[in-house]
Symmetry: D2
Subunit: 296 residues, 4 copies
């Protein structure tokens, strides 16, 4: 039986842990905060003493943490790489800088360990339902070894290219999430200011050339009802947009709309919406325009 180690029990990691248990994998977890581990121990998972201990008796080690330094720290400094046996596969499902993913993949390769960058799309909702889209960069053979584990977490598993590609495609996706959501917010605020009805706009645009996943799914669920419950927090989206902008700097790719959208989410954060769903960027524009975009 495949022994799975999972590090990171936040809003994404916790439901993923539950889905791994449901799929009857032998699961060991480790989390920075002991209370997170306690919660998951209750449902039958092992709790490791340390990342190194976790790595030493896992076949697959999944990391679902916040950022590049976290992942690098776990792999290079907190013992994952030093304690894992050859043949182990590391699967980082966080979203990190593609260059860091490549660097870690190289470091691991020299220990005969595969490091896959495998970020996801679908948010907490997808994590709970086990319907995440997974974008995997790294050796295809390594992906095949861990595919059954990933299938417990996600509805669609894509091999997208060599190391780093998973994170690149994720950043491409999240540029679109960020720009489309902000543009949707400004288009709808204009519509309401000009007298149009929100439900009508959503229906008509949804049947037209302006349609998007954001308008069809995220806005009705998080924004049109005024809840702005995440979903995916503004501060996490801004982190991803910053990674995208850095990648643009590195590769000399022009990112005009991304840079501007980043500032709009910054405004949203400084207006108190850091930990609300990113669709709360709508609040900033609503407040500027003196209207509300609600269907209730």
């Amino acid at each position: 039986m495949t022994r799975v180690g999972l590090i990171g029990l936040g809003a994404m990691g916790m439901p993923m842990a539950r889905n791994l248990m449901k799929a009857r994998f032998a699961l060991t977890v480790w989390a920075r905060r002991p209370e997170s581990s306690r919660a998951i121990r209750a449902v039958g998972a092992e709790v490791a003493e340390s990342p190194g201990a976790l790595a030493s008796h896992s076949d697959v080690v999944i990391t679902m943490v916040t950022n590049s330094p976290d992942v690098r720290g776990l792999v290079l400094e907190q013992g994952l790489l030093d304690n894992a046996r050859p043949g182990t596969v590391f699967v980082d499902m966080s979203t990190i800088a593609p260059s860091v993913a490549r660097e870690l993949a190289e470091a691991c390769a020299s220990h005969d360990i595969d490091f896959l960058d495998a970020p996801v799309s679908g948010g907490t909702q997808g994590a709970q339902a086990g319907t995440l889209t997974v974008m995997v960069g790294g050796r295809k053979e390594a992906l095949e070894k861990v595919r059954p584990v990933l299938e417990a977490l996600g509805g669609r598993i894509f091999h997208v290219g060599p190391s780093g590609s998973g994170d690149v495609v994720k950043l491409v996706n999240n540029i679109l999430v960020g720009t489309i959501a902000a543009a949707t917010a400004e288009a709808l605020v204009l519509g309401v200011k000009a007298g149009a009805n929100v439900a009508t706009m959503a229906e008509v645009v949804g049947a037209s050339t302006g349609a998007s996943w954001q308008l069809a799914n995220q806005f009705p669920l998080r924004a049109f009802n005024g809840s702005f419950q995440p979903g995916f927090m503004t501060e996490l989206l801004t982190k991803d947009l910053d990674l995208a902008l850095e990648l643009g700097n590195e590769t000399e790719a022009p990112l005009f709309l991304t840079a501007l959208a980043r500032q709009l989410y910054g405004l949203s954060a400084s207006s108190g919406h850091s930990r609300d769903d990113y669709t709360s960027v709508l609040r900033v524009l609503e407040s500027a325009a003196g209207v509300e975009v609600r269907t209730a």
Copy 2:
């Protein structure tokens, strides 16, 4: 039998005329350029001497022309309003300023004529297939009178509110077309610069939270093959974005991303792509970044 008058035989009007003939309406046309009229006469439509003559023996008068001054000129100065009988319904399917639509609706109302603003989404392709989405502003009763005519042209007919609303919703849609297409272009250029595969990105993002009609339809058909055949020309999209920006100025709605996208399409136009499909904004970013985003 409903007698339909159609003014404007351009890339949209011509296939619309054919669909009206196919649906066996008695069709009279008028176009600024005689050669356009000649082409449509060949398939059996009447050609009127003047807009006024057309109005005098039509139950429904459709205008499909370029901009607000064109429509105002036809209605108020070139004889549509003076020659139409009470009870006639004018259906403007161009995209014009909502304030002009309201002004013309008022002018017509005093002659017992309905003026519906009924812009469309779907492009030349939708016009040919008769699958346009039609967004109708004005009296619902007037829409019901002309519904059979519109059904010959479009797959989905929405009544979206009072006069002007059709154009408002259309501008909301086209803000999203313009911003999403430009953002898609910059996201994909980044992806290619960072080593990702175009077809893979399109597939994975299409199954994720960054999905949009633009990425699923317009880019594969117009951009990924390098053709940039319209579709919908850059110069027409910029016209609509200018209308949206004016509406934002009037209503004091913030339009950050729209304003920036407008400049990107301006760059595209000044680089020679005015009459190419608007997805050719990709060319500007490709040229800046030194890559091509193609699936071939």
Copy 3:
């Protein structure tokens, strides 16, 4: 003695009228609002019955009104052109579209009348002090005829080229006013958020490569003291930025920063600062960042 007609007695026109009286020109005025005329009659100017009457007994007709339609209306429809004698010089000191200035210059030329576009820089302060910078487009000979009149109003009179050039150079200047003021606002808000002192920043930057007229003059006088008394109102600057953006559209010149600054001033207007000095754009950024940029 040169008989001068002046139309427009707003925040700019009124002090200009006083300076013309002080310079002992025979002055006739006309203003839309009778109370404006009354105020200036008190100091000895004639008040004309109509624009036409004013034109019929003036050698120089100055217009200082709001926008292109105002000027076109006065010249073509309200009797200036029809009543002026050949040899009269029209001097439009408003800021209007260069294309309208050229159109009016042509219309006037056929009546043997010169139309100079002569917008100014310097604001109400410059108007009061008679130190306006005047940018004149049109025939140099016509400028020489009216130079003594302009010298009563402005410190520096520049002939900048043929008809329309005055307005072009004015729009170039006001693009810089708008972008520099908005950039200054965002730079200073950042500085304050990061702990720097406002007076220190103003002094040091003022002695460095970031120095500008805006930082040296407008901010200390209007913004750092929290008054935001115009000066030049946000709604007038946005009008000029809209003219600049239209000129950019016409000439296919890219105006990225201008378009974005325009949106920031729009935000300022919708936040209640339409009639405050344009430096009140600072308020919008301050409120987003939760700090104040004051020297008091």
Copy 4:
């Protein structure tokens, strides 16, 4: 006699070294590239074996290198802090992240060493002429100790606040450099497209409310003659704008125009102007618009 150590002999450091020699300080230098050291040895300076050796016999250690990691590396890892005697003053004249300046100041304080952040404005020209503006953050007493040294380098020495403030004020200045230069480029391109003369615009705007140091100095010297010789290279300005954007992220300050200007300089870099003067951003806009902004 004050013994001065200088690390970094690039386009800025080299003329600074010459000015220190001219002012008869006992100068020791160290540079990564031996050929730089050789050039300066020729004019009489000592060359140290290592940063540590340099620190051990200097009263003042000046660093003029590229970025935050360089300075941190020199101070913490390459021996500056370990080898300097208590009472030494470190003066970092590079532009680095204010948070790094504060971190290094704290590390140094515990060794009884002052670390001043003292970035400069004025470019290579100012470095050669000894007229740099210096913005000093840190203890005022430390500044007084090194003031005679700084006076050999700069015309104006400002104490701007505690540690980190020097870099904050420098970033505020360079936001203005970057946004004003880019806005000047787009305003002038518009003017030329609309038929105005470059020299006339420069003169008139320079006497008006749009005036700036950039338009008065940098553009005539670097851009209007088509040379684009630095001055200050695009890649260095983009580095500073990135530091400013990071500072904006940290402090939650909105930086709309800065973010957009950063993308324009990115476009300039990817068009081959990384090592040209930053005014070469004009080239990108010229090429988009099909005109040249030259006075020749």
